[in-house]
């Protein structure tokens, strides 16, 4: 790790102030991606602004058909929350698949979404459920939030405060993990909500994406067979030592089919 200035912010306002005063700031919450990156000297921010301990920054609440998860909520809390398990069990299940117990007790939903790792799990739930991301400045719809590999709609001085998930009539997340990292090689979140059917894919491409053809097929018939023969093109998918683009394209179909089966089970 390179030398840097560490700040523990006491409020969001103070955090924003520190950001604006720093030459090359980085926000840290759970630090499950950032700290290893710093330790390997792959990043050298001038200032680290720690928002993990902000008051009233974590917690889960339910209002009508909306589950609201504050940005500092740890994966373990989402995975084990009775509210989440009751309203959107697929979301609790997904959170329980992230990383390992250490990661789930440190990592936060806000950190995961702001980082937008192409293989992270949460983006699939946010896009699949058409969640709304609340920030210190505004609210951003899921379709607008994820912009590319490690890229989001967030401005430099903007911090995620919470995420509103609409409850689903039926939903499931099916993940095929990378055998080494256990990130998603392919993760597919399918959801049927009052707003329609969504299919969101993480791990396969540069950024989480939807599969409109599957969504249309499932809108007509929410059954595994509806998606079993729908293939996504391999052209823009990731290819590495763990799996070719063609393999990932194939897994999208398999995981989508299995997710639908799980959602109606």
């Amino acid at each position: 790790m390179y030398a840097l200035k560490y700040h523990r912010a006491k409020s969001l306002d103070e955090a924003k102030q520190l950001i604006s005063q720093s030459e090359d700031p980085k926000i840290v919450a759970g630090g499950q991606t950032l700290i290893p990156t710093l330790k390997q000297r792959l990043a050298s921010p001038s200032d680290l602004i720690d928002i993990a301990n902000l008051p009233d920054f974590a917690g889960i609440s339910v209002s009508g058909d909306t589950v609201s998860v504050k940005a500092g909520t740890k994966h373990f809390e989402v995975a084990t929350s009775a509210d989440v398990q009751g309203k959107i069990p697929a979301l609790a299940h997904l959170a329980g698949l992230i990383g390992d117990p250490h990661v789930r007790h440190m990592g936060t939903i806000g950190g995961s979404l702001a980082n937008n790792d192409p293989s992270a799990d949460y983006p699939a739930a946010v896009l699949g459920l058409n969640a709304t991301v609340h920030t210190t400045e505004r609210q951003i719809g899921a379709d607008d939030f994820f912009q590319g590999m490690f890229e989001t709609a967030l401005e430099e001085n903007e911090i995620i405060t919470s995420v509103d998930f609409p409850a689903a009539e039926k939903a499931a997340y099916m993940k095929f993990p990378n055998p080494a990292s256990r990130y998603a090689m392919v993760g597919v979140f399918v959801a049927k909500t009052s707003g329609g059917v969504r299919v969101a894919v993480t791990g396969a491409g540069a950024c989480v994406f939807r599969v409109p053809e599957m969504e249309q097929a499932l809108a007509a018939n929410f059954a595994p067979d509806a998606v079993a023969s729908i293939k996504v093109p391999a052209d823009d998918l990731n290819s590495d030592i763990h799996g070719s683009a063609e393999y990932r394209a194939h897994l999208v179909t398999v995981m989508a089919k299995r997710a639908v089966a799980a959602a109606i089970a």
Binding site: A3, F176, P179, A180, S181, I241, H242, V254
Partner: protein, 783 residues
């Protein structure tokens, strides 16, 4: 003392300190005035070093020194050695290039050692290391062993033209050709043995220290064999004579072979301590372990098996290309030759074997012994090729094995080894029962109806352990003898200290060695201390690897105990005024035959030191004896592992549903520790078969699997429950009947898993590791 003696599942004495964080590892030592070293490493797989400018680094905060290859050369230090001479077919010696601890004018793999920056803090050393300006002229590189032999491949060492270090042969070529000519069936099979990164939990570490007043050096280091490290650093690197160098290997957190070797980092820390006149500490980061620990395996092999019409083996012909990496590590040449070719007879009566091995330089981390070392590769060749033959000849894989088992002992193979004892049908039979082989067909049908492909696979393996008779290994090219030493010191109060040349880095010697003492002397094991790992305490020793500490190390202790008992009997005879021949010793008591006279062991030990009750001109006071034990033969642990697995054809994912291991390790000292060794070995074997792979990017020579994000270490949920069983034939080649158990799992499991996978897919040719992507790709081709 039956509760803590031989054969008892005694809880490990050392675990209390390990699991409560009280172990004392090399990095836990803080020496006064200690500075920190950080290595500047090559970012290139192959390059000339045109210049090194360390001025900016030297001027940085806290920097004590920057030392490079030219400084080592100026001090006239020798390079690192390969301690096993292998000869090519034409009789010429292997062509070893120089192996300086710090590169002088050329770097040969990504992570190669260029300089050490020594500073007051580690952070300062790392900061300054980035300021060392190395001007490289990059050269083409090659990381694959077969490609390194192609004409026009980059030349890595001038000494080894075409990158060929040796082309070695073993066996009778003409007789084997004749056997093939007469065969009813010939099976040809090509297979890989994937490169593995050892990944001991504790990374390598070293602290060099120097005492200006005496000129003494001390090296604290993560070594499996501290005396060998001292010998190499003294006699070959010529840092300082042996009596001026102390090597301490304190608690060591796993080795798997990777901590046998004398590496550049440890060598440089010891030398640098003398240069800067203060202790110099280095602890590898995990990414350094990936880059610069000696890797394992990395073979390409073409095998041919000749059989008669009934499936009896007539001959085996094998050609292997062994990737040795960029430099010859300490025992690199022995692993793909004498630890490999000599095991190609497996458990089978194979009258004719001929094997050739090309040892090849590449631009990769050096390859050396890793758990099993040559024997997993041999087992994999034999067991996979035999399954290929069984498939072609439509024979049951258990049946073809039974038809070929060796049944009479001793058995001389055509490849040096003389098997002393074994019962191969017994372990196969027990394993067949444990896995319910008869019920497999029904289980396969059930899997099919669930959309899964089920397979079962065998590995009836053998290994040569307890290395080894010194004269035998000497005749094969070893630079050292492979005996072991022990000293048993009985204190006046009857407690016992055992000094052993073996080294425990996870094996549990503090428990098992104490169990032997408890059994023999009737002393509670809490009154026994096992001392190892310090050249200032222990006389000399060859260390721990090759499953040798039980068979060789404990045999040395046993011999020393014989001497202790003999002397104690003399003393007891005087004390009880009886003839020495009438003294009996059992359960910690000396008795006079036919009388009720008796003395407890502590009474005799106290008398030994007081010296009042016996004539000290006849018997010297004290009770301390030493022994060196040289085994009469290798030991031959053997057994049968059976794997049953299910493949999800939609994803290519493999799930092992049953894993049975039945092993014959000879006499068992502690069944709980043995079972743990089997579990760990199988975990690494399954890791090799399905998960682990050290991959270099072909063009750049960069290590693509340089962290746990890309290198798949086996985890608990990758592994099934293991059904472990034992059979026992006592080893006749050492007094305790021990064969050794440390490597069996890693040797046997890969072939069992891959044979099961072949059975499930109906395809023999599957590379390791059989990742989901690999399996899926094969299914795409076969569908």
């Amino acid at each position: 003392m039956s509760g803590t003696g031989i054969g008892q599942p005694v809880r490990r004495k050392e675990d209390q300190r390990f699991i409560t964080g009280s172990g004392r590892y090399t990095d836990d030592f803080q020496l006064e005035g200690q500075a920190y070293g950080y290595f500047v490493r090559s970012p290139h797989a192959h390059a000339k070093i045109k210049s090194i400018d360390s001025a900016a680094a030297l001027a940085a905060d806290g920097v004590v020194a920057v030392l490079a290859g030219k400084d080592l050369a100026a001090d006239e230090l020798g390079g690192l050695i390969c301690g096993w001479m292998v000869h090519s077919k034409d009789g010429s010696e292997m062509k070893a290039g120089a192996h300086p601890a710090l590169a002088v004018d050329r770097v040969r793999y990504t992570g190669d050692h260029v300089a050490i920056v020594i500073a007051e803090t580690l952070a300062q050393a790392k900061d300054a290391a980035e300021l060392v300006e190395v001007d490289y002229e990059t050269l083409p590189s090659v990381s694959d062993g077969l490609k390194a032999l192609e004409s026009g491949a980059p030349q890595i060492h001038d000494e080894a033209q075409g990158n060929l270090v040796f082309d070695w042969e073993l066996g009778d070529k003409a007789a084997t050709e004749a056997a093939f000519a007469s065969a009813a069936h010939v099976t040809k099979f090509s297979l890989n043995n994937n490169r593995l990164v050892p990944n001991a939990m504790e990374p390598r570490a070293a602290i060099g220290a120097y005492e200006p007043a005496s000129g003494d050096y001390t090296l604290y280091t993560t070594s499996q064999n501290p005396h060998v490290a001292r010998l190499v650093l003294s006699a070959f690197v010529q840092l300082v004579p042996e009596h001026k160098l102390r090597v301490v290997a304190p608690d060591v957190g796993g080795g798997f072979g990777s901590k046998i070797f004398i590496y550049p980092e440890e060598t440089v820390c010891a030398w640098a301590a003398g240069k800067v006149k203060r202790p110099v500490k280095w602890t590898a980061e995990r990414s350094e372990s990936f880059l610069a620990d000696a890797h394992g395996r990395d073979h390409h092999t073409d095998a041919e098996l000749a059989l008669d019409a009934e499936g009896k083996i007539l001959g085996l012909r094998v050609h292997t290309t062994a990737n040795l990496g960029a430099y010859l590590s300490t025992f690199a040449s022995s692993v793909p030759t004498y630890l490999y070719g000599t095991l190609l007879s497996g458990q089978y009566n194979i009258p004719n074997i001929y094997v050739t091995v090309d040892g090849v330089y590449t631009n990769t981390a050096p390859v050396d012994a890793y758990r099993g070392a040559g024997r997993p590769e041999a087992t994999y060749v034999v067991e996979r090729t035999l399954d290929a033959a069984a498939r072609e000849m439509k024979l049951d894989p258990a049946e073809i094995r039974k038809r070929n088992f060796i049944s009479e002992f001793p058995h001389q193979t055509p490849v040096i080894m003389n098997y002393d004892i074994g019962d191969y049908p017994a372990s196969l039979q027990k394993a067949l029962e444990l896995i319910d082989y008869k019920g497999f067909a029904n289980r396969k049908t059930a899997s099919e109806s669930a959309g899964k492909k089920r397979g079962i696979g065998f590995s009836t393996y053998i290994e040569a352990c307890g290395i080894a008779p010194s004269a035998a290994v000497g005749s094969l090219g070893a630079g050292v003898g492979l005996w072991e030493s022990a000293e048993v010191r009985v204190n006046p109060t009857g407690s016992v200290e055992v000094l052993t040349g073996a080294h425990s880095h996870g094996q549990g010697h503090e428990t098992t060695f104490a169990q032997l003492v408890s059994e023999r002397l009737g002393v509670p094991i809490d009154n026994v201390e096992i001392i190892h790992g310090d050249t200032n305490s222990v006389q000399f020793g060859m260390g721990t690897y090759g499953s040798r500490s039980g068979a060789v190390g404990m045999s040395a202790i046993d011999k020393a105990i014989d001497k202790v008992v003999a002397k104690a009997k003399k003393i007891a005879a005087h004390m009880m005024e009886a003839a020495e021949s009438d003294i009996e010793f059992a359960d910690g008591n000396f008795t006079v035959a036919g009388t009720d006279k008796q003395l407890a062991f502590p009474e005799v030990s106290l008398a030994a030191y007081v010296g009042h009750q016996f004539p000290t001109d006849e018997i010297e006071p004290g009770l301390k004896e030493g022994a060196f034990y040289d085994p009469t033969n290798f030991t031959f642990p053997a057994g049968c592992h059976i794997c049953e697995l299910e493949v999800d054809p939609e994803t290519g994912a493999t799930e092992i549903v049953k894993m049975v291991a039945v092993d014959d390790f000879g006499r068992i000292i502690n069944p709980m520790i043995v079972e743990g060794q089997v579990h760990g070995g199988i975990a690494q074997g399954i890791g090799q078969a399905l998960l682990e792979h050290g991959i270099y990017e072909p063009e750049s020579g960069q290590l693509l699997t340089g962290s746990f994000m890309d290198y798949t270490m086996p985890r608990a949920d990758d592994l099934p429950h293991f059904d472990v069983g034992l059979t026992e034939t006592l080893c006749p080649s050492n007094p305790l009947g021990i064969k050794g158990c440390g490597e069996a799992g890693a040797i046997a499991a890969p072939a069992a898993v891959m044979n099961a996978l072949s059975d499930a897919l109906g395809v023999m040719d599957i590379p390791m590791p059989a990742t989901p992507h690999t399996v899926w790709s094969i299914l795409q081709q076969t569908n």
